[in-house]
Amino acid sequence: MKLIRVDMTAKSIQTEDLPQAYAGLGGRALTSNYINDHVPATSDPLGPDNILIFAPGYFSATPLINTSRLSVGAKSPLTGGIKESNVGGTVAAALGNLGITAIVVEGQAPAGETWLLKIDQDGQPELVEGLAYRELRTYALVEKLVDAYGPKNSVTCIGPAGERQLSAASIQTTDMDGHPCRAAGRGGLGAVMGAKGLKALIVSRAGNAADSLADTEAFKAAAKAYAKAVKADEFSGEILPALGSACLVAAINEVGAFPTRNAREGQFEHADRISGETMARIIRERGGKTTHKGCAQCIIDCSNEFVDKNGKYVTSSLEYETIWSMGGMIGNGDLDAIARLDFLCDDIGLDTISTGVAIGVAMDAGHKSFGDAQAAIAMVEEVAAGTDFGKIIGNGPVAVGKHFNHDRVPVMKGQSMAAYDPRAIQGMAVTYATSPMGGDHTAGWVVDQNLEAFGGTLDRFSAEGQVEASRNTQIHMAAVDSVGICDFAQSGLAAPGGIDNVYRMVAAKSGQPFGEEDWQAMGLRVLKAERAFNRRAGFTPADDRLPRMFYEEPLPPHNKVVVISDAEMENTFDF
């Protein structure tokens, strides 16, 4: 349970025991509480007072499957509030296996400096001068780092967008194949890393010092039962391996909740061309990979490797959110162009969601036509080239809206919504508006309650029950993001006794009793810390709203608007 503290101003590193105040915390619980405790809420997100913290989930590097989840926290340059963005790949397992609970990056290197943080197989950290890697795109960077340091490392890095400190910059991390294609995309944390002068973390995957478990046998028994449930589940055991998260395209489009052409419509006429079914068929025909393992300890294999017509690697993994943001949202029905845009964002170090929505806003403002995929590719390339317009795109949808004086900008707290239009699934309006993260689908995904079981257990066009569903899911997700179970492995929770297995594992790791109340308390502690930070940063209940377009513009084909009142939004959290 080590905490590595890196001061980028002094170029000093200290390794210490995790402070007692954070005992038993991992992932989002650790990052959000640490940021709330240590970062002045009104500080400049790109200044020396901000802190960038990396923390594996509490279960990372335990015997439990699907737990290589890394939370990254800081004050966000995109929202101005607290941010936790989490990512898979191999780094969380690698850090956990080195017994590292968190890396805290403080201060700021002088402009013009570039540094690497290398952690060897004994968990020893070292700052290495990295000027030779400056401005490299992520794939080229990783290739050079493999040449310099060997292949047995996990690389977590930024591309040119992060170095330019652009608000939609991501932090990319390597997958099982060593591709830097996994993104902590949301909130512009790549810009914070760039502002620190830190280009990459190079973490040995050869660690053998994972935290001990208080009761190994009890942990293993619960982990085995959990894994069995994940395998047995229809969605995680069969559909995700075959189609990946792209399986959502057809379903969400069918119900008219697939935001199309900057959310002017809820259905995309070319959805069939970019659906998961079509994607999987194309990948198979071209000799690419479905059922691909992207993350350490994964048993779902929802990843894929998309290849071109000659069978050459284009990107991994093509996911639902990107297929939407670079597809329907910009009116583009060309899956090859979407794959190219996904690769470019990974390579330049950009959040695919914010970037796609930024392009959508530009097209909506008349800059280019919807559906012009080549124009979209050119806009993303401008970010890498560092042109004035590239900086605007790289700063996300709000910057684009300001540039064009265009007010149809689908953001909440400055961060774009994701691939579920809140007018067609009212519960998502609550999550988007009230999450401390800003527009964020993973913070409280309430789509299933609104659609499944043959049409939903909630009326998706009504306010009734939506606040409660979102509240409960947001509390639950805050806990899930803290233990570091992959979102898609939550099927293990849904099985009979599934959540009890999670309680048993927390207890078996910590040696302390843990139950339902503790789970709730963990989630609430996270949200309370995040909301406290945001209040000090200047957020008020008036920020828990959606842009006017969602209240005023009926969304075809169902022609509904958001009907959640301001009072209901404010009732979501009473702390």
């Binding site: 229809e234 969605f235 995680s236 069969e238 559909i239 075959a242 189609l243 998260s245 399986c247 959502l248 057809a250 379903a251 069918e254 119900v255 008219g256 998961g276 079914e277 068929r281 639902y320 959110e321 994701a418 691939a419 579920y420 689908h441 993973t442 995904w445 789509v447 299933d448 659609l451 499944e452 079981a453 043959f454 049409g455 939903g456 979102d487 898609f488 939550q490 099927s491 084909p557």
Partner: protein, 79 residues
């Protein structure tokens, strides 16, 4: 009467002759419901997340009409 059927995700795997791009034309009894169609296709209800009839979400007992487009979806989680 006949209805057109599209099966999403991996639902088509268990249905003989199913080809996703073209879908399936199925002969059902007049007045047949969604669950009756699913039983006829041999698809267990636990494999179903939602069903749409001509673009509208439908319950289990919704009645089919001649020529309808029936889209059958797997459970979802996201995203």
């Amino acid at each position: 009467m006949q209805v057109r059927v599209k099966l999403y995700g991996t639902l088509g795997k268990g249905v003989a002759g199913y080809d996703h791009p073209s879908g399936l034309t199925v002969e059902v009894n007049d007045g047949a419901t969604v669950v009756e169609l699913l039983a006829q296709l041999g698809i267990p209800l636990k494999k179903i997340g939602m069903v749409s009839l001509d673009g509208r979400l439908a319950g289990k007992t919704a009645a089919l009409r001649p020529g309808m487009m029936v889209k059958v979806f797997h459970p979802i989680f996201g995203g």
